[in-house]
Symmetry: C2
Subunit: 527 residues, 2 copies
């Protein structure tokens, strides 16, 4: 196969450690550092890799699969969204309980994914207290302060500087279009809602824009090409941003919607262009008011609505002054939310990988013991759990031998006299996900065996045959001096505890929980 | 003249109080509230206004000049910038001293205007202490927290997650291109710089982009139409934004530049497109390295550089580890900076208006006194100043009679028996700009006269003839009960002080400072 390859593109993506920082993937050279007329001098497919020799002598090696990776996006355009109408939520809106959201990363990921895909989610049972909304925002990102403050109160105010602070109905709109950068996320936390009316409404602005494109492409085009001056002015602010109502990316995909009738200032231009814009604007506004697009629901005290302010339009019905209505809101940004979600997915993927290792390599023999490696480790985890050990010790017991899964050396090689330093290998590998409270005992579990053999003569006598054998390649019992030093190590106690479960966990046919049983505990320890 | 007018546009801009909130200019109707087939039923030019009768019966009235206002922009595209090369700052960079910046709004406006127009400014003499950079940002906006924290330290770190935290040279780049919204402003505050090297460089990215457009329009076009995946990934972040290197607004004007070689991830597409992009990218990168574009300077302790991160690229030279280099940085946004600048301009315009009133109406006679109104007020202000009074009292003394400048009633009418309530009129007018510490004594200065006449028999004897006359239309001396109530008022003391300067400030021919003398003091009191 001789695919046509773009030379500078290919070289810019060289994955070698000279070209990219292995820690963060940042490129270590400038594009201008590459020679003029860079060319591929030679190329070969070897061992599932494309090997390239460059005209300047550099060598690159790309996994063959990498070349064929499909383009994906940053998740911000319509192509990564689930466009919706109200009926799509007939069974209920994306929601989660606050406690579950905090405790369970899978629940947290589901909420953030809903905001990312559908543009919103509701948290229920969020403590009804002032400033709590800021804590909600901090679970996935950073609060964006504006002229309204770090947070703002939505309730009837005596001399309101904004329609929001009255009891009037508000048509679907996005907030702060006069800011650039516009706050991309909004949170509204209900503290009190005993008024008649005052329900919340949401409209998917991307869906409305897509409908406009379908029904009247010329109107859609007019809105994407006309920068509209949005203005807000009060005693201490004079904000202005000129942006189109519908913003598309360079490939023409809907990427942002700004829609706020109240703050559109005077557009200037020839009458014909103004006519075209106003016809398009009115058509788009009419679509946003279609009942089938509008999802109405009521926020009760403790509910916190999180939504994408570059996509969803929010509205509220008028309310009577027969009761009180008080929301606290704040702004944040979707980039941090997407990052938090990606890290949660990465963690979940890491656990998937671990689970696959237990099911795959883990099913192999364990240094001649009567149990497989996976059985051994699951038994060790279960023993720690049964002993009421702290979660980090259960995790360390469960994972103490992952070093055996890694690298080219397998258990049998160790039995043949090579110490593969599996305790270090395992601890290093786990350090990508777990803190020292988990990796410490893993790293020290071989040393703990040598220590126990030195200080507890009975202990050595109880070692399995295989373990007695490996003790020798691991260095034998510690000297008195080494044992004293080990005992003084702050992690010695945890390492010894894990070691004892390790020795016990070799019972053939003992019933063990499966890996999935330990996932919530592991997830809670991942950082 | 029958200009062609776009009906919906015209109606959407109706300035009447039914259509717009007079307090903040927010529109009070939805575009969809307007009838289909809205038309102008009748129009007429009257009294410098266009009067319109609409087909639905509404009437609008537009100042004729408003129709002809030229389109302006939000200040964010190349058309509102001063594009530069290094030689343009041969005489020095835009800078100000921190104390002057804080004390003098004109200095503050000049610094913010430089950031807005040239993309940067340097504050000198900023206190060398940790976290001070956050205070600098708060003088014009809000800090934007990121994964690097609320602020970040730029110094050599043991295990850096970013090239910034090493001593290596860094080529011109913008920060955080993997964020969307990208932080639009960056601040770098130098706390220590004793290393050899480590100088700062700036390149005007708009200028570089404009040069690319001039020299190779096809490259410019390729960069504006290609969304580039920018990625940053570390233990707790996974950020990605797909944006073009050069972003233009719908009218094709350069609006943002993102340029950061380190974080460009793998672009996908047909080889021909990748070739086109890489040719353009390399050409643009080469332009950013032209020596004539690069402005180099050294940040010394106490210097704080503020720059537009959507436009300017920043760089630094490598530095030796022979000394220490420590900057603290933070991000903020240009929308708030522009708002702060606009409010400063608005205040300055208000002082211009006051100055014009002193020079115009103020030159008129003052109720039959031997001085003009302006002389009287300037004398009162000067007397307060000479007495060492607090700034708010100097301002109140200077402005106590501005009520005479306002409305249809003039001093002569008051002399003819009408009390024009000039103390209230003046205080209300001043309240747009000044707090109660200034408006209070203005509001009470007539009451203070009636009070003093009640409690100090000598005082009344010293009144000028005109003042004795107006005392009657103002209600005469206070009753004992009213005087006691007045004395108990928390603002009585200040009002009485102003009143005494008022009475003394009627000396014909006395030398007075001009209005300009009082501007810095007035500006410092404006909110």
């Amino acid at each position: 196969m001789t695919t046509e390859l773009s030379p500078y593109w290919l070289r810019d993506n060289c994955p070698c450690a000279e070209c990219r920082d292995p820690r963060n993937g940042q490129k270590l050279f400038q594009i201008t550092d590459l020679p003029q007329d860079l060319a591929i001098a030679a190329r070969a497919e070897l061992d599932g890799h494309l090997e390239v020799l460059w005209s300047d002598g550099h060598r690159s090696r790309y996994p063959s699969g990498w070349l064929a990776v499909e383009a994906d996006g940053d998740g911000r355009t319509e192509s990564d969204k689930r466009l919706w109408a109200a009926a799509d939520f007939a069974h209920g809106v994306p929601e989660a309980h606050w406690e579950a959201y905090l405790a369970d990363p899978a629940e947290r990921a589901a909420v953030l994914a809903a905001v990312s895909r559908s543009g919103f989610a509701v948290l229920r049972g969020v403590p009804v207290r002032e400033r709590q909304v800021l804590e909600v925002a901090q679970t996935f990102g950073y609060v964006r302060a504006t002229n309204y403050g770090e947070l703002f109160d939505v309730r009837v105010e005596p001399d309101p500087n904004n329609l929001a602070f009255t009891s009037a109905a508000i048509a679907p709109h996005t907030d702060n279009p006069y800011r650039d950068p516009v706050p991309t996320l909004q949170l509204l936390h209900c503290l009190e809602n005993s008024a008649t009316g005052g329900d919340s409404g949401l409209v998917d602005g991307f869906r409305a824009a897509a409908l406009l494109r379908e029904e009247a492409p010329e109107h859609f085009a007019a809105l994407t090409r006309t920068p509209v001056p949005f203005v807000f002015r009060d005693r201490v602010s004079e904000l202005r941003a000129d942006r189109p109502l519908i913003e598309v990316d360079p490939l023409g995909r809907i990427r942002e919607v700004r829609f706020n009738n109240r703050s559109i200032a005077t557009l200037r231009g020839p009458a014909a262009e103004l006519d075209a814009f106003y016809a398009a604007y009115r058509a788009f506004a009419a679509i946003t008011l279609r009942p089938e697009l509008r999802l109405d629901f009521r926020l009760d005290p403790g509910d916190c609505l999180i939504f994408d302010n570059t996509r969803l339009m929010h509205a509220r019905t008028a309310f009577a002054q027969d009761g009180r209505r008080h929301l606290q809101g704040c702004y944040a940004d979707v980039d941090s939310l997407a990052s938090t979600l990606a890290v949660l997915h990465r963690r979940s993927a890491a656990l998937d990988e671990l689970e696959a290792l237990f099911a795959g390599e883990g099913a192999g023999e364990y240094l001649g013991e009567a149990v497989t490696m996976a059985e051994h480790m699951l038994q060790a985890g279960a023993l720690a759990e049964a002993a009421g050990a702290a979660p980090h010790l259960v995790a360390a017991a469960l994972l103490h031998d992952v070093g055996h899964f890694q690298g080219a050396l397998h258990g049998r090689d160790l039995m043949h006299g090579q110490d593969n330093r599996h305790s270090d290998t395992g601890a290093d590998w786990l350090a990508r996900w777990f803190g020292p409270e988990v990796t410490g005992p893993v790293r020290l579990h071989v040393a703990a065996k040598r220590y126990l053999c030195a200080v507890e003569p009975d202990y050595r006598a109880r070692l399995s045959e295989a373990s007695e054998y490996t003790l020798r390649v691991q260095g034998g019992p510690m000297s008195e001096q080494d044992a004293a030093a080990f005992a003084a190590h702050p992690g010695a106690r945890d390492a010894v505890a894990v070691r004892r479960w390790d020795e016990q966990a070799k019972e053939a046919g003992a019933p063990v929980p499966d890996f999935a049983h330990f996932r919530p505990l592991l997830t809670s320890l991942m950082r």
